[in-house]
Symmetry: C2
Subunit: 116 residues, 2 copies
DNA sequence: ACCAGTGTTCGACAGTCATCGTACAGTGCT
DNA sequence: AGCACTGTACGATGACTGTCGAACACTGGT
């Protein structure tokens, strides 16, 4: 069985739980971005094309457990979408959708911050 | 004894410490707004003209001590300016200055939030 | 079938934060 | 002088949160 199957691969892994930005309260969005590690994740994510990076590709000064935790928060805030491909979990920044819900907030986060 | 007298009548009270929005890191601004009580304070402040409200005029479900703490955080985030008048401490939302530093963030906070 | 790589979950821990009650300090008024 | 009002400072407390280590689960290749 070595066929190029992408639709029904009998994935025995629970799909990541997502929340659409439209269903995210403002407080949740602000809390998600009010963390240095998560800001770094979002910024690095924005520097690459969608689905280009898996979780392990991010260079943040925390272990895998904490990294997984941060991605869960970013998902529940409607900031990141994840898709499983093989053993990896590819990420995509939800630019348009999030910007439609919270106009300017993502641009603000991505912009170079002189006063840091 | 005092020779360092202020111009206006000898205020023996320490003036509130302010931080200009230009000197506020993004993380500090987001953290300041990532709190339900402070969001409420900012919104209520925006509904009245500048210097119209003293701290005790705000109807938030916390005691005076916590309220004072929240105002200190809002000051240090460049969101609120305070001025003493008599026993009261009048407040003003730093709309223009904060919006120049973090464009759109204040509008985002003040806008009615359907998904709450 | 084993194994290396990837990511999640669990328990535990330390640090931070929001809150309270109380005490304290100014201000203005009588 | 007192007194009422306003706001801050302090200490304590409970809750939340970011972090880790270890165990676990899944995938794909050897």
């Amino acid at each position: 069985m070595g066929m190029l199957e992408q639709a029904e691969g009998a994935s025995h892994r629970p799909a990541p739980v997502h929340t659409h930005p439209d269903e995210v309260p403002l407080l949740t969005a602000l809390s998600a971005l009010a963390d240095p590690v998560r800001i770094q994740l979002v910024r690095e994510l924005a520097k690459h094309p969608a689905w280009a990076l898996s979780c392990s590709n991010f260079d943040v000064p925390v272990g895998r457990a904490a990294k997984s935790h941060h991605f869960a928060i970013l998902r529940s805030a409607g900031l990141v979408e994840q898709r499983d491909q093989g053993p990896k979990r590819l990420n995509r920044l939800r630019r348009e959708e999030f910007d439609a819900r919270f106009p300017g907030l993502l641009d603000l986060t991505l912009r170079a911050d002189e006063t840091e």
